[in-house]
């Protein structure tokens, strides 16, 4: 964002989500919205994260629990199919992993620097049910 002088911005501790007037925003997908440069959507907070979730679609049943519970709207789901994670806004809280009901889980937490392909290749096996 350009650093403007004191007389060059609108008054108030206020930022506009869009430049100009918007229409039917509820019916428009995030990726199709013309967010302004001041919208928090265009700012990455990925560097807040220490651990990251990795999504393994092989076990996902598209139950949408992660989408419902994510406090940062960082689970990307389209037509009720889990697509992946918005890694610009995910803070790595691990709630999605906690609520994932599959066995093994379709989402697991790893250190931020972990390699996704390596982790997917060594994904844990199904836990045997014990009686």
């Amino acid at each position: 964002m350009m650093k403007k002088g004191w007389d060059e911005f609108e008054i108030g501790a206020m930022l506009r989500t869009f430049d100009g007037k918007i229409d039917d925003i509820a019916g428009t997908l995030q990726e199709d919205r013309a967010y302004s440069e001041n919208s928090s959507f265009v700012a990455s907070v990925a560097d807040w994260r220490i651990n990251k979730p990795i999504f393994n679609k092989d076990f996902c049943i598209d139950c949408q629990f992660c989408w419902v519970y994510c406090p940062d709207i960082s689970i990307i789901s389209r037509d009720k199919k889990m697509i992946g994670i918005d890694m610009d806004h995910c803070k790595g809280c691990g709630i999605c992993v906690e609520v994932c009901p599959t066995n093994p889980k379709s989402l697991l937490m790893f250190p931020e620097k972990s390699d996704e392909e390596t982790e997917l290749a060594t994904w844990p096996a199904k836990n045997k049910e014990t009686k």
């Binding site: 650093k3 403007k4 002088g5 004191w6 007389d7 911005f9 609108e10 008054i11 108030g12 501790a13 206020m14 930022l15 506009r16 989500t17 869009f18 100009g20 007037k21 918007i22 229409d23 925003i25 928090s40």
Partner: protein, 407 residues
């Protein structure tokens, strides 16, 4: 309009609280979020009564503290409503954190502050401790000396605060009990005149404008915060006084009552003068007239606008005077009083060097009597005759025990 209008007499007998409540009714406040505290409670109580009697179309929000009251006001103002509340003393102190939010967010809330001492020791009576606590908060501060002015200044406050060039919150101060609970004749405006003066509320950047979504109350760090604060200070320093003057002029046209940023009394040829605020102004005026009969050319300067501070208007008002007393009704707790410092600052780079002395008086509702002011004016005249301040620069008036003087 779905609410009823009220027929008022040309002159009503109102105390300062009821006058302020009537002004809030006539301005048709959308939201009052309030928590009761002596002596300001009857203002918000009055609004609630008018609301329940269908004289207002609005919302009264009962909250659990003054911090929540001002927070509710901030939310309602950001949403796009005309918003007001009232408080005093400890309640004001609890609001302080949110006062800075309101001004930084540029929300034109009007806060009626019925001035009362700050504990400890706990005290419900009038002094200016709470008023002084708010003076760096970025609000406009207007001071009423009597119930009539508490009524009138509410209209002025909305008119100035809500102007899209200003968008700053405003406080209307009145002295606890001496103004708030003393009934006097108050000249009224009709409901239509009053509402016509403040006009319909014009929202700006409101959250309920769904076609232009905004985020209010954003965070900025070292890269942006300074620019926001600089802008707010700039607008207080350069834009507010012209708008206040315009509002005073328009109000005089409407009501015949003339207000000034600095209220001068007998200052044309005054040798000695007292600068003060609140109900003390009226007492000082009475004594000044009596001093003239005794041959002392006395005058009074009352501050109508405290923030922004009328730096040049004060210097102008005091330019020909020889001795000045700055009366502070708040304990400076280890410094000269606020008025002493501000006046010294306003005069320091001018050619005229008047003799300036400071007085601390009236804490916790202690009376400032006419006898106090007679000796004060006499002391000022003695300073003029001696050509120097004959006392220490800071004295206490009306406190028991050995005489207190410092500096």
């Amino acid at each position: 309009m779905a609410f009823d209008k009220m027929e008022l007499q040309k002159i009503e007998v109102w105390d300062g609280n009821f006058a302020a409540a009537q002004a809030l009714r006539q301005c048709q406040i959308d939201v009052v979020a309030a928590y009761p505290i002596t002596p300001s409670t009857p203002i918000v109580e009055g609004y609630a009564k008018f609301l329940s009697d269908n004289y207002i179309e609005g919302e009264f929000v009962m909250v659990e503290s003054e911090h929540a009251a001002m927070s509710g006001c901030v939310g309602a103002a950001a949403a796009g409503g005309r918003v007001a509340t009232a408080t005093s003393s400890q309640g004001f102190a609890l609001m302080v954190e949110v006062l800075y939010q309101a001004s930084g967010m540029r929300l034109p809330i009007v806060l009626n502050v019925v001035n009362r001492a700050l504990a400890a020791p706990l005290n419900v009576n009038g002094d200016h401790s709470d008023m002084y606590l708010g003076r760096d908060s970025g609000w406009i501060q207007l001071d009423a000396f009597a119930p009539q002015e508490a009524y009138d200044l509410n209209f002025i406050a909305f008119k100035v605060a809500e102007d899209h060039d200003i968008r700053l919150p405003a406080m209307v101060h009145q002295d606890g009990f001496m103004t708030s609970h003393t009934a006097q004749g108050v000249y009224t405006l009709t409901d239509d005149e009053a509402y016509g003066f403040v006009g319909e509320y014009k929202p700006m950047n409101d959250m309920l404008d769904f076609e232009h979504p905004v985020t209010h109350g954003v965070q900025t760090e070292e890269d942006w915060h300074f620019e926001h604060k600089a802008r707010q200070h700039n607008d207080l320093m350069t834009k507010v006084f012209p708008k206040i003057q315009a509002a005073f002029d328009a109000f005089e046209k409407l009501s015949g009552r003339k207000y000034n940023i600095v209220e001068k009394y007998d200052m044309n040829d005054a040798d000695v003068c007292v600068v003060c605020m609140g109900t003390s102004v009226e007492t000082a005026r009475e004594v000044a007239t009596e001093m003239r009969e005794k041959g002392i050319k006395a005058g009074v300067v009352g501050l109508r606008v405290i923030r922004p501070f009328p730096f040049f208007e004060i210097a102008e008002a005091l330019k020909d005077v020889k001795a000045i007393a700055a009366l502070d009704r708040s304990s400076p707790n280890g410094a000269p009083g606020m008025l002493f410092n501000e006046i010294a600052g306003a005069l320091f780079n001018t050619d005229k060097r008047a003799l300036l002395s400071g007085y601390v008086y009236g804490l916790g509702g202690r009376d400032l009597t006419k006898a106090h002011l007679v000796s004060l004016y006499t002391e000022l005249q003695a300073n003029v005759d001696a050509g120097k301040v004959t006392t220490q620069l800071q004295q206490f008036i009306g406190v028991r025990g050995p005489k207190l003087a410092f500096l």
